[in-house]
Amino acid sequence: MKEVKKEQIMKTALQLFAKKGFYNTTIADIAKEMGMSVGNMYNYFHSKESLAKELLMYISQIFGNEIRKINETNISTKEKIRKIIELYFVMAENDPALVDYFLRVYLSNKEIFANGCEGMLCVSPFVTEIMMFFEEGVRKKELKNQDFFVAFGLFMGYIAGLAFLRGEKIIPTSLENYVDAVSENIYNALKA
């Protein structure tokens, strides 16, 4: 039961962070939105920082699980690229708070995560699945064998950048319209 409640608190916090910003949101705000006392909130998260870290792991796990499903599907690497991009863009459209949290809280406020989320500690499920995807693509000779970060930066930097622009409303239409073109570009850049 405690885990279910924690998940509800994280989802609530996620929405508030997206609406008001991480620093402008207090534990009291989250408690109020949950209809809980602040004292009770501390039974679940002893600080906003610890909530932030668990939230990061929670999101990373959601992304990781979804990419894992794609990894375990028997389709070509080219099709997998499309599926991953579709997944990311649909998530960015339907649940922008998730992507927002990654970009605006995690990547922009490293000091919150410096202690306990070093390296890939809190994003391991997501990064592991991306590595699995790349590794298999090279093993099947469908992707070019190159440095992991060169490929990772090209892949994630590109789509996260578009999600950011969409969040700023600079891109006026749904990211779902960009799935095909972006998939094509990424495949062309990474293919063997």
Partner: protein, 287 residues
């Protein structure tokens, strides 16, 4: 079996490296109280003839149209197989084909021409073999004890381990700290091609000549006990987009990547820097 085990040791297509490794055994005299070689290619023995014996040792690989003692090699070994109580395929060449040809029970990944005699065969792979591996098998046979074998007929006492087990660089493997060839510190798995984590042997539990092993000395394990030996690019770690193509035996790729990612995210300051510093130290002792 006889009070003294009669062993016929023949060399097929071989470099005699396994014989030489065997001759480093420091207690040969004790061994010769329990066994006798009725023929050995290097040790003094009577001239080769097809006679009665207990154990056949084949050192080296098989090849078509290869003569040994004026017999066709494969025909000769077939005759000897029928006379032998047990056959020891000695060295990776005899087990899998290795450097020179085909093995007895295996021809690399495929079944070899003597696979049908597998109930007689004990495989001791290695390039070369460690003398203790052969001694263990001979001792067990001389005492008429059962040797437990794995699915490739290798004694589990030796081959259930990986050569990673007991490696004194394991601390560096845990923390994902790389080493260059010959360095005292660091793990040779990440860049230098060490195959220890997926090579069956006890090289780091039962040291060579009682003192050392390749990885301990700074040289990567090159997987000489495996059917894939010799690989191309022995001293480079094959990677796919930075991910090792081979992960430790028994681990899933996903499990390995998760663990490696976590280890890489953290640091062990003591191991990040050199443990040994020889230059510019004021207290260095000069000879």
């Amino acid at each position: 079996m006889h009070s003294k085990l009669k062993v016929l040791w023949i060399d097929a297509v071989s470099c005699n490296g396994c014989s030489h490794s065997f001759l480093n055994y420091p207690y040969l005299e004790d061994l010769f109280e329990k066994i006798e070689f009725i023929y050995h290619p290097i040790l003094e023995s009577e001239e080769f003839k097809i006679t009665d014996f207990d154990i056949l040792i084949v050192e080296g690989a098989l090849k078509d149209n290869f003569l040994r003692f004026d017999f066709d090699l494969k025909q000769l070994i077939k005759v000897l197989f029928n006379k032998a109580k047990k056959v020891i395929a000695l060295g990776t060449c005899a087990v899998y084909g290795g450097m020179f040809g085909e093995g007895l029970m295996f021809d690399k990944e495929k079944e070899g021409i003597f696979h049908k005699y597998k109930n007689k065969i004990i495989n001791i792979s290695g390039c070369p073999i460690h003398y203790d591996w052969l001694i263990y098998v001979l001792e067990m046979l001389s005492q008429n004890k059962n040797i437990i074998l794995d699915e490739e007929n290798r004694p589990v006492e030796i081959y259930s381990f990986t050569s990673h087990s007991g490696c004194n660089r394991n601390e560096y493997f845990e923390w994902k700290i790389d080493a260059k060839w010959g360095e005292k510190e660091g793990c040779l798995f990440y860049e230098s091609g060490c195959q220890g984590p997926f090579t069956h042997s006890n090289c780091n539990r039962n040291l060579w000549n009682e003192i050392n092993s390749k990885p301990r000395a700074g040289m990567p394990c090159f997987g000489c006990t495996e059917k894939t030996f010799p690989k191309v690019g022995l001293f480079e770690t094959e990677t796919f987009m930075g991910v090792p193509a081979n992960v430790p035996l028994g681990a899933t790729k996903r499990g390995y990547l998760t663990l490696a990612g976590i280890a890489k995210s953290l640091t062990n300051e003591r191991l990040e820097k050199k443990l040994f510093r020889y230059k510019n130290e004021k207290n260095n002792f000069k000879n």
